[in-house]
């Protein structure tokens, strides 16, 4: 609270803008409450020195450290919320003034800039953790970012190295990679036992993995309703709706939250494929991280033209956790497997096959590929993906050159022309499909 109060006093204009930005999000009061509860719990760890606070990169198997009492903090989630609030630019510029380059990850720069300025988590800041946990499965920046944060604060860092299953490799190679990641998970357990001075809490671990799998199952089931007409939820909603699944801090509450939404969806649709309102004019897939600072792109610019984002591998990628197996070893192997094959990081061959399935299952009329300026790994292969999909389906594909958390990379005028051109292409495509 001290940091938030200080932030408000020092940046009253930014705070008001941030509030407006938060209120402009597609959030229900309950979701807003969950988000605030999570941020407040993170802040409270500072007042509870007996509780451990871990800082995690996206994709890290949080259940393992969480079973040992580490409360999970996510700098990327804080940065995303800051971007959504429309407050990321000062932090990014501050990080750039420290020497971080313009083409580096804007999550990282938001987090570093806000943290160095002493801003609270609501505005991208990140308190010093007891330990830092990074995994490179979705991002190469994580490793160096977390390593340097750990070094600066003189705290331990555990780096999980997840190999990429590249196109052309034999399927048998996956098992070798599972062996490799499993070994590191055992190392992680040893690391946690050393840090905490306690034996690994298997009971708690199995409970957390079970809950995690249930959260993901509910999220996946809810996603199935997005295949119906009209889709149950659009991207502007799902991008914040996934927060309880991503943050993993209060699993039972997340299960209750998603169960309630699933029941609502079941009631709304029943067995019907099409309900009142019917099919959207244009059903679109979004590939890549969302533009956090630009919710209006989804709920106004695209929506006004009848184009709605009904699928995005990005959100679905967080929903891949499996149920625990009979033994600790088998469960760790399953976690390793789940982390190697993630929709967001599939190799080109698998990605093309995956998209071919999505085009049919979601009855898509267009695809937007976010060529992310500060996340080149996630943009790699998009031209090949575009070519393959257009060749097979003739489906319109729009490549958007912009950034997930840095609004300076988004030029409204030129972007609107591209979007309108894309919508005109979808109009022809839908006519041809019919």
């Amino acid at each position: 609270m001290i940091r938030l109060t200080r932030f408000i006093v020092q940046n009253p204009g930014l705070f008001v803008n941030g509030l407006k930005g938060y209120l402009n999000q597609h959030l229900s009061p309950r979701l807003y409450q969950i988000m605030m509860q999570y941020l407040n719990r993170t802040k409270m760890t500072a007042m509870q020195p007996w509780k451990r606070f871990g800082v995690f990169s996206a994709g890290f198997p949080t259940e393992i450290p969480a079973a040992m009492g580490y409360f999970p903090g996510y700098p990327e989630a804080y940065a995303a919320l800051t971007g959504a609030a429309g407050c990321s630019v000062p932090s990014i510029e501050y990080a750039e003034s420290l020497g971080y380059g313009r083409d580096l990850c804007s999550y990282m720069k938001t987090s570093i800039g806000s943290s160095r300025m002493g801003w609270p988590e609501d505005f991208g800041g990140n308190r010093v953790a007891d330990a830092y946990f990074s995994a490179n499965l979705v991002c190469d920046t994580h490793l160096k970012w977390f390593e340097s944060e750990a070094r600066i604060h003189n705290k331990p860092h555990f780096a999980l190295d997840v190999p990429s299953f590249v196109a052309g490799e034999h399927e048998n190679r996956i098992e070798e990679y599972v062996d490799y990641v499993e070994q590191q998970l055992w190392d992680l357990i040893a690391f946690l036992e050393k840090e905490t001075g306690k034996k690994f809490n298997e009971k708690k671990f199995f409970e957390m993995v079970g809950n995690s799998a249930e959260i993901c199952r509910l999220f996946r089931e809810l996603s199935e309703y997005r295949k119906r007409f009209p889709a149950n939820r659009y991207f502007e909603w799902v991008r914040t709706f996934m927060l309880p699944m991503v943050s993993q801090w209060n699993q039972k509450d997340a299960i209750r939250f998603y169960s309630k939404h699933l029941k609502m969806a079941e009631k709304r649709y029943g067995d019907r494929q099409t309900i009142e309102g019917g099919r959207e004019k244009y059903r679109v897939l979004w590939e890549g991280i969302t533009l956090w600072y630009n919710v209006d792109l989804y709920q106004k610019v695209l929506a006004d033209k009848g184009a709605r984002i009904v699928a995005e591998p990005y959100t679905y990628s967080f929903a891949g956790r499996s149920k625990p197996k009979g033994s600790l070893k088998e469960t760790l192997r399953q976690i390793a497997r789940d982390h190697i094959l993630v929709p967001f990081t599939l190799n080109l061959d698998r990605r093309i096959a995956y998209f071919n399935t999505l085009i049919q299952e979601y009855d898509l009329d267009g695809i937007i590929l976010h060529a992310n300026q500060s996340c080149r790994p996630s943009s790699t292969g998009q031209l090949d993906l575009q070519e393959a999909l257009q060749k097979k389906w003739g489906i319109p594909v729009l490549m958007m050159n912009t950034d997930h958390c840095d609004p300076r990379a988004y030029a409204e005028g030129p972007m609107n022309t591209r979007i309108e051109g894309f919508v005109e292409l979808m109009e022809s495509y839908v006519k041809r499909k019919a």
Partner: protein, 254 residues
């Protein structure tokens, strides 16, 4: 049936009046600061010069970056579709269009019926656009209209290595300081833009007949540089600069 197309670009505003498929009138004026004023002036001039009454016009279509500012427009269509329709008006079997405008450059592919099948535009960067040429003309103290003739006199085009307008300008200034001839620098600038255009064309896969539209198409040096790099002849209608407005007028009657 009279239709009007108004294309408001970042540098110029263009207008075209059509009677069904017959082109009656075209005009070009600077967009300036006030886009609304730009289209109103050019529209009034058109009415005056052609003796047309506003009530006789069945459809007005606006296009270009300022399309949203044309309050009287019945439709707003992107310049992508309009340039394609304009090019197809002059060359009905056109397969691809390249348009280098003031603010962006684009490659458009068309299907058999003259409608857009795909397009690609430059990234958020002025390099490879008409604005880029403007900046270079200022740096070289040369009128943009003389670029074509000067390019023709070039003996050895320089290599412009920078992909950014600002850096390229610095590069050009250092070349001037080194004593490099303006002709060679201009030819190098054309080749640099042509390289960017050809990358875009290769991305989308263009084939002939290939039409060039937009104001930059008047620059012969630019056309030659692109033709040399892509290995295809460019078709350029006399009204290339107003192709977007013509296409808009055509789509207004569709």
């Amino acid at each position: 049936m009279l239709t009007v197309g108004i294309d408001i670009g970042s540098i110029t505003t263009k207008i075209a009046l059509m009677d069904k498929t017959k082109l009656i009138y075209t005009d070009v004026a600077f967009s300036g600061y006030d886009m609304a004023r730009a289209w109103q002036d050019i529209f009034k001039t058109m009415l005056l010069k052609t003796g047309t009454k506003e009530m006789d016009i069945s459809c007005i279509v606006s296009t270009g970056y300022g399309r949203g500012s044309v309050g009287i427009a019945h439709k707003k269509i992107t310049e992508i579709s309009c340039h394609a329709a304009g090019a197809a008006y002059f060359y009905p079997d056109v397969k691809a269009v390249i348009d280098i405008g003031g603010q962006d450059s684009k490659c458009i592919t068309l299907n058999g019926s003259g409608t857009v099948s795909d397009f690609v535009m430059n990234d958020k960067c002025a390099a490879g656009t008409g604005r880029f040429l403007d900046v270079m003309a200022r740096a070289l103290h040369v009128e943009l209209g003389d670029f074509g003739a000067m390019d023709h006199k070039s003996k050895k085009p320089v290599i412009i290595s920078s992909m950014c307008t600002v850096f390229a300008e610095s590069e050009v200034i250092s070349m001037i300081a080194r004593g490099e001839s303006r002709e060679n620098i201009i030819a190098g600038i054309h080749e640099s833009i042509a390289s960017r255009m050809v990358s875009m064309m290769n991305r989308i896969g263009v084939s002939k007949p290939l039409v060039m539209t937009g104001g930059v198409s008047r620059n012969k040096g630019m056309r030659t540089a692109i033709e040399k790099k892509i290995g295809l002849k460019l078709l350029v209608p006399n009204e290339a600069q107003v192709c977007g407005a013509i296409g808009a007028a055509i789509l207004g009657g569709a």
